[in-house]
Symmetry: C2
Subunit: 155 residues, 2 copies
């Protein structure tokens, strides 16, 4: 079995254990330099947290462990097709190698697909099903937060 | 001052306090039924976690507090334009009313913009700057994870 298949088998095994504990069928394994640095399973049922997705948890755990928000060169093995939140989380961390074992098409008959959310989020923001608005409040008598941040950066 | 401006002023005040503590200039306040149910600030510098964004933290905190991953009817007041990860997190939670005080254009001169990531993520997946591949591993001798999940759902 190739290393890639072995890591994917591990992600699927995590998903299976999670289902047996009453969770959703998603697991993920994050690999750097040929070794597993972190993993995650979907914890939405248990925690009620809608952001408790396998890949996001693995990214968080790896970053905290390595003391770096950037995980360039890491490879994600996810049992299911990553949702838009997890994909963006991986990209924020500089992760560009992503494999998944179950596609949105595989998951659709089970209601396990993020395809509708992808379709909506790929539209221009103004056309999406939401009210997303610029409200440029600038509290009087207070320093602008971005100016303040720049000053702090410059020390 | 309108309620909306008051909540936004609070989000900006959280961002300002966060900068004074050495963090990034982002704060968010989540409101339900006219009251703040949760808030968050960017914790990337302190925790190294690249997913530690103000809005995502507010969504998580509200969902855990209310024992529900769905926060329909909630309104997010974010100091900065939400990034794609946080936007998707809000949509996963059913949040469709989102206001921000600083646009990506406001933030660009400070390097505080998620516009490049939005531009990339809005392309078809195959055209994005990453290797995103289907690897349909199906471990032999083990029950399919989605079939198992359906069985568990049916009790």
């Amino acid at each position: 079995m190739s290393d890639a298949d072995r890591f994917m088998t591990e992600a699927i095994a995590l998903a299976r254990e999670n289902v047996r504990r009453g969770g959703r069928p998603f697991g993920a394994v994050l690999v750097m330099d040929g070794e597993v640095v972190a993993h995650g399973v979907n914890g939405v049922v248990e925690t009620h947290d809608p952001t408790s997705h396998a890949e996001l948890i693995a990214v968080r755990a790896a970053a905290i462990k390595r003391h770096s928000p950037i995980l360039k060169g890491a490879t994600m093995y996810a049992s299911g097709h990553p949702c838009p939140m997890c994909l963006a989380a991986m990209r924020l961390a500089g992760i560009t190698d992503i494999y998944y074992a179950y596609s949105n098409e595989d998951g659709a008959p089970f209601g396990l697909t993020s395809a509708p959310l992808y379709a909506d989020l790929q539209k221009p923001l103004a056309e999406q099903q939401m009210n997303f608005a610029y409200r440029p409040v600038r509290p009087k008598g207070e320093e602008d937060i971005y100016d303040l941040w720049r000053k702090m950066q410059e020390g």
